[in-house]
């Protein structure tokens, strides 16, 4: 079955910029729409659904930052990337702080955008490491529904390096029978220092020491059972955004 092509919106008040970019993306097999103003872009977002938006920052009516803030309220999960001639502008920083994935400087590096788009399409693989099979199974079900590829590990002996290497995110229970989650984390971080590892635990008090140590060695965050699935999804979106931003040369500190 052929994969559904991404829908992309290109926004720039310089029509030639919007059109050339849109034409390139079409040649590369994406569905594109163009808007030549901030207002036009807002209308497009209201009426169609987009997987990705590339927008200019300075436009005469509604600028990129205002446009992003406006659509973020109703559609917070569309990744938006700025393209601008003024990369050091104060507005750009405001946009990045508000949640824009990254800023690209004109003239654009098209190959970079194309590799970014191919990443965007790919579903992230998540490994769940938890010795409670019921919890693992239900969580995996929810995440699969949301388009993630999920690998369930209920026996810690089955967690191998290859598995971690091929995934984007690890969900790690802090208490795995006789094994301490902290040691597992140390192991993962030693070989994959940048791997986002989200801790989960039902023992907020008992495990507080280990959790503190885990956060010290750069565990991404800790969620407490029973947790709201929405909270986890938020974190996953955030991680994906960071990953995409880094792909476009943004650095997070």
């Amino acid at each position: 079955m052929k994969e559904e092509a991404l829908n992309i919106l290109v926004v720039d008040d310089d029509r030639r910029m919007a059109n050339t970019l849109s034409d390139i993306l079409k040649v590369k097999g994406y569905n594109t729409e163009v808007a030549y103003s901030g207002r036009g872009a807002i209308n497009k977002v209201e009426s169609c659904s987009f997987d990705f938006i590339l927008t200019d920052v300075k436009m005469p009516d509604i600028g990129g930052v205002k446009f992003y803030k406006k659509i973020k309220v109703r559609k917070p999960n569309i990744p938006v990337v700025f393209m601008t001639a003024y990369s050091t502008d104060r507005l750009v920083k405001e946009g990045l702080d508000a949640g824009v994935v990254a800023t690209l400087t004109k003239p654009l590096d098209i190959n970079l955008i194309l590799s970014f788009l191919s990443m965007l399409k790919k579903e992230s693989t998540i490994v769940i490491v938890d010795d409670d099979p019921k919890f693992t199974k239900t969580l995996a079900g929810i995440l699969k529904n949301r388009g993630f590829i999920v690998i369930e590990v209920t026996d810690i002996l089955n967690l191998n390096d290859n598995l971690v290497q091929n995934s984007k995110i690890v969900l790690l229970d802090m208490k795995l029978g006789s094994v301490n989650g902290l040691d597992v984390l140390k192991d993962i971080k030693k070989k994959h220092p940048d791997m986002p590892v989200i801790l989960i635990t039902g023992y907020r008090k008992e495990m507080s020491q280990s959790i503190k140590k885990a956060l010290d060695i750069k565990a991404y965050t800790c969620l407490y059972k029973p947790f709201h699935i929405e909270k986890l999804l938020e974190v996953l979106v955030e991680i994906k955004k960071k990953e995409l931003g880094m792909l476009l040369g943004r650095s997070f500190t």
């Binding site: 040649v27 003239p107 654009l108």
Partner: protein, 302 residues
């Protein structure tokens, strides 16, 4: 004020005595003087000569002082003009640079599109499309250096290890294969207190210049030493050198000896170094090579 008036009064008195003295001296028939009287007179004349010498010396000093001050004033004025020139240029290039990025963006998109769609185009057409793309990249580099000039970002200073900074740059900017690179960085050098990205830009600039000056190969030596809470970084090349007449102009914006280049590198570098409380100087012998020295403060220097 009172003092000044007093001196004026004393001076007027002195000059009127002196006139009387000269008239009296001319009237005296020296042949009728007795020996002792003659001796006294001669003493007086000697005393007068001494005063004259003193006055002469003083006036010479005064002249030197005036010359010295004038020179310093001229230097300050020149520095001011340089800064002014930079500021105007910065403003202009900031505007122009940004405006150029938009059309460059469209050109580069159009070239990319044509390359993708004209798959059966002949070799020359493809080559020309590549030329367009490559020239857009070159133009963009010029725009970026123009924008560096207009950027007035304040320095964010932290303690930085010089060795790390230099090695990182050398790692990124590979030397051309016929250039030998040597670094002498003592281990006990203190951290410098600077904006690391600004100083990294400066050193990258200077190292690139050095490479370019040695088109036929040579050696680049980077010496680091510390003196009175200041770290000196010498960047020494064995390249073509700078003619003596050009030495005083090399830090001026838009001055260049390169066939391609707009002459902003050293000027921008000087500004960035000074923004970090440092200084930069150059020595060169035509045909033998150049040494650029960047002097940067440690935290103790502040």
């Amino acid at each position: 004020m009172v003092r000044k008036r007093n001196i004026r009064k004393q001076f007027n008195q002195l000059s009127s005595y002196f006139k009387e003295l000269v008239t009296a001296y001319e009237k005296i028939d020296k042949r009728k003087l007795r020996y002792k009287e003659f001796k006294d007179l001669s003493n007086m004349v000697n005393k007068y000569k001494q005063v004259e010498e003193e006055l002469e010396k003083y006036s010479k000093n005064l002249k030197e002082m005036v010359e010295d001050r004038t020179k310093k004033l001229k230097e300050v004025q020149e520095e001011l003009i340089r800064k002014e020139k930079l500021a105007v240029l910065g403003q202009l290039s900031g505007g122009v640079g940004h405006e150029l990025r938009n059309p460059l963006g469209v050109i580069s998109n159009a070239a990319y599109f044509l390359k993708e769609t004209l798959t059966d185009a002949d070799k020359t057409t493809k080559e020309y499309l590549d030329i367009i793309s490559q020239e857009v990249i070159n133009a963009e580099k010029i725009v970026s250096s123009l924008l560096d000039l207009s950027r007035t970002k304040p320095s964010e200073r932290t303690e930085v290890a010089v060795s790390e900074l230099i090695l990182k740059i050398l790692d990124k900017k590979h030397s051309p294969k016929d250039i030998k690179v040597t670094t002498n960085i003592p281990k006990d050098i203190n951290y410098i207190f600077v904006d690391s990205s600004q100083i990294s830009q400066v050193l990258t600039n200077l190292i690139t210049n050095a490479y370019q000056a040695m088109a036929d190969g040579g050696s680049l030596t980077i010496n680091v030493r510390e003196h009175k809470n200041k770290v000196h970084i010498d960047i020494i090349d064995t390249g073509c050198g700078i003619p003596k007449k050009d030495m005083e102009k090399i830090f001026e914006p838009l001055y260049t000896t390169k066939a391609r280049g707009i002459g902003l590198g050293l000027s921008v570098s000087k500004n960035l170094v000074e923004a970090n409380n440092g200084s930069i100087k150059a020595e060169s012998t035509k045909g033998k090579g150049s040494t650029i020295t960047v002097i940067l403060p440690t935290k103790e220097a502040l």
